[in-house]
């Protein structure tokens, strides 16, 4: 097996808007190495989220092929993708998307409900994930009792708790002040360096992109060659 974790070939994604067809991604090719930390930048509407959704198996390409690890995503059914996501992908969103009715600990345990672990194992694993993001003392807090930065840390703990290889982050610091954003970015960097997580991060913030190993620029559904933009 090569060192490439993600291989996208000739990907197009067309949305139907009323009678019109809008091609959001145009014959896009992309390879991401295992252990990379890739920042994806580009103007609004350029297709960054669409690309991230394809990488995470949340959406299917109109044409082209996507391989992530051993999985050929474009050939998989939606239920097979669900199962695959639960162990292979961690998502981190701009607005954290924690369940307000659950404590930090229980939010982090959520993905583990899909495994065979018993309650005790789930609690242990979640506690470890919370300590990695530095929030062991907030385990019993509800999202409304946490700051934005803390909520995002809980979301990161939830994303890594089932130990996926690939973390997909869509503007993870978009809602945070500079200082807090830097903390989150340092955390992502640590996950990349110390825990060998491959990370793809969409961002509008070029300072945020500096934490990544590479930056790719997207424009109108295509990727500019590296170094450009």
């Amino acid at each position: 097996m090569s060192d490439d974790l993600v291989v996208l070939k000739d990907i197009s994604r067309t949305y139907q808007k009323g009678k019109e067809k809008v091609e959001v991604l145009h014959q896009l090719d992309l390879t991401i190495a295992n252990g990379d930390f890739l920042a994806l930048m580009g103007p609004s509407g350029s297709g960054k989220t669409t690309l991230l959704n394809l990488l995470g198996g949340l959406d299917q390409p109109t044409s082209g092929s996507i391989r992530v690890g051993d999985a050929e995503l474009h050939k998989m059914s939606s239920s097979a993708l669900s199962k695959w996501r639960s162990t292979n992908i961690g998502f981190i969103f701009q607005f954290y998307n924690l369940l307000p009715v659950l404590t930090a600990q229980k939010n982090v345990e959520l993905p583990l409900l899909l495994t065979r672990m018993n309650g005790r194992e789930r609690a242990n694993r979640a506690a470890i994930a919370l300590s990695i993001v530095g929030l062991e003392d907030r385990a019993k807090h509800y999202p409304r009792e946490l700051s934005g930065g803390q909520e995002q840390r809980v979301a990161i703990a939830r994303a890594i708790v089932s130990d996926p290889n690939l973390l997909l982050c869509d503007e993870p610091t978009g809602d945070l002040d500079r200082e807090t954003a830097d903390e989150i970015l340092r955390l992502l960097q640590a996950l990349n360096k110390e825990h060998n997580k491959t990370i793809v991060m969409v961002t509008h913030d070029s300072q945020a992109a500096e934490y990544a190993r590479h930056t790719l620029h997207m424009d109108k559904g295509t990727l500019a060659p590296e170094g450009a933009g």
Binding site: L58, S78, R85, S86, L99, V101, L102
Partner: protein, 382 residues
């Protein structure tokens, strides 16, 4: 069930709304329980009626009596195993509002055709031996606080006795029960011989006959044979099964069973609308959250089950409490002194089935909506 915690927590997302929904389900199933018991009162008499018992009445009116000589002639009809007779006493105890059934009967014959009535042997013997004694049902004893050996004056609005008084004095020889918990025992049984000799008029007549037959299948044929015997006599008869008799008796109340069923149906659909609305509101508010669950790897089926479980749980909680309280009030406390006011196993089973059905029915559309939710659409709405 590891998802239970999630279901439970999601339910309390909007506490007041959930409590109100549970309360309305609670009230609905309390009402269901009470109305089912009431329904038993009206349909109970029919259920209690034995298909192997016939009742012979005067053809023209239940009020007219029949000659006592009919008893032997009825007994001679093939297929008749035993026959008993009963006559209205038409009285009350102390206050005209204290109405209950009093029949003058031949003790041995009557107990013979109603084997479900049970009485201790010594009390039965006492009754058979003592002409002016009566036996009374457990329900009556409880209502009036009587005990065996008490002498009670009964006022008859029909029968004057030979001493010119309408007050008859009886001794309580025993207390009987019924093996069927739904049957009322608000009844007093008087010795016919004492009653017949004591009354100032109408001697030698009997109110109606109760006939035990060999097989329910022969009921129509035997009834016909009995009535044919007395055709073209001054006292023609009408014989029917006890069930038909009970039915014609209940007919006086109109079709209450139907009305109750209609009310219950209306209640049931109201509850469906109320809780269905709550559930779909709750799903709509949670679209981003449900999408996140799917992102984490929860399948469409998982999400469907979680929403269904929530709605079923609300029903189980509210419905269980409502039905439970109804059971407590009706069966344990016996708070309503109506004959047959009772929740039997079938009514309870029905209740539980309706609770589960309502849970599924109220939750199914919101659950399907949650299942169909596509992650990208849902998240872009966030």
């Amino acid at each position: 069930m590891k998802y239970f915690y999630l279901v439970w927590k999601s339910l309390w997302r909007k506490k007041v709304r959930t409590i109100l929904t549970i309360l309305s389900v609670f009230v609905a199933f309390l009402l269901f329980g009470l109305l089912s018991a009431l329904n038993q009162v009206f349909s109970g008499a029919e259920d209690l009626a034995d298909a192997r018992r016939l009742v012979t009445l005067d053809k023209i009116s239940i009020i007219n009596s029949l000659p006592s000589s009919y008893l032997a002639r009825i007994e001679s009809v093939p297929g008749v195993e035993r026959a008993a007779h009963a006559s209205w006493f038409g009285g009350y105890y102390q206050d005209p509002r204290n109405q209950f059934a009093q029949f003058a009967v031949d003790p041995a014959r009557y107990l013979d055709v109603y084997p479900e009535l049970t009485i201790p042997d010594d009390q039965r013997e006492k009754w058979l031996r003592t002409r002016d004694s009566v036996i009374v049902g457990r329900d009556l004893v409880e209502e009036f606080g009587w005990s065996v050996g008490d002498r009670i004056p009964m006022y008859s609005s029909i029968w004057t006795n030979t001493s010119g008084s309408q007050v008859w004095d009886f001794e309580i020889a025993g207390v009987f029960d019924s093996e069927d918990p739904r049957a009322s025992t608000q009844m007093m049984l008087i010795q016919y011989d004492y009653f017949d000799e004591g009354r100032a008029f109408g001697q030698g007549t009997m109110g109606w006959f109760i006939i035990a037959i060999d097989s329910a299948g022969n009921a129509a044929q035997i009834a016909n044979a009995i009535d044919t015997q007395f055709a073209n006599s001054p006292n023609e008869t009408k014989t029917s099964t006890e069930a038909a008799f009970a039915e014609s008796f209940i007919g006086q109340y109109g079709n209450i069973g139907l009305i109750i069923t209609l009310i219950l149906t209306a209640v049931f659909f109201t509850i469906l609308l109320v809780s269905g609305n709550t559930m779909s509101q709750s799903v709509r508010e949670r679209i981003p959250e449900l999408a996140v669950l799917k992102t984490l790897g929860f399948t469409d089926g998982n999400v469907l089950s979680i929403v269904l479980a929530e709605s079923t749980f609300v029903m189980l909680l509210g419905g269980g409490l409502g039905l439970g309280l109804a059971l407590l009030v009706v069966n344990v406390l016996g708070a309503v002194p109506l004959p047959g006011f009772y929740l039997d196993a079938a009514a309870v089973t029905n209740g539980v089935v309706y609770i589960v059905l309502a849970g599924v029915a109220a939750g199914i559309f919101p659950a399907l909506q949650a299942k169909r939710l596509t992650i990208i659409d849902a998240l872009s709405r966030a």
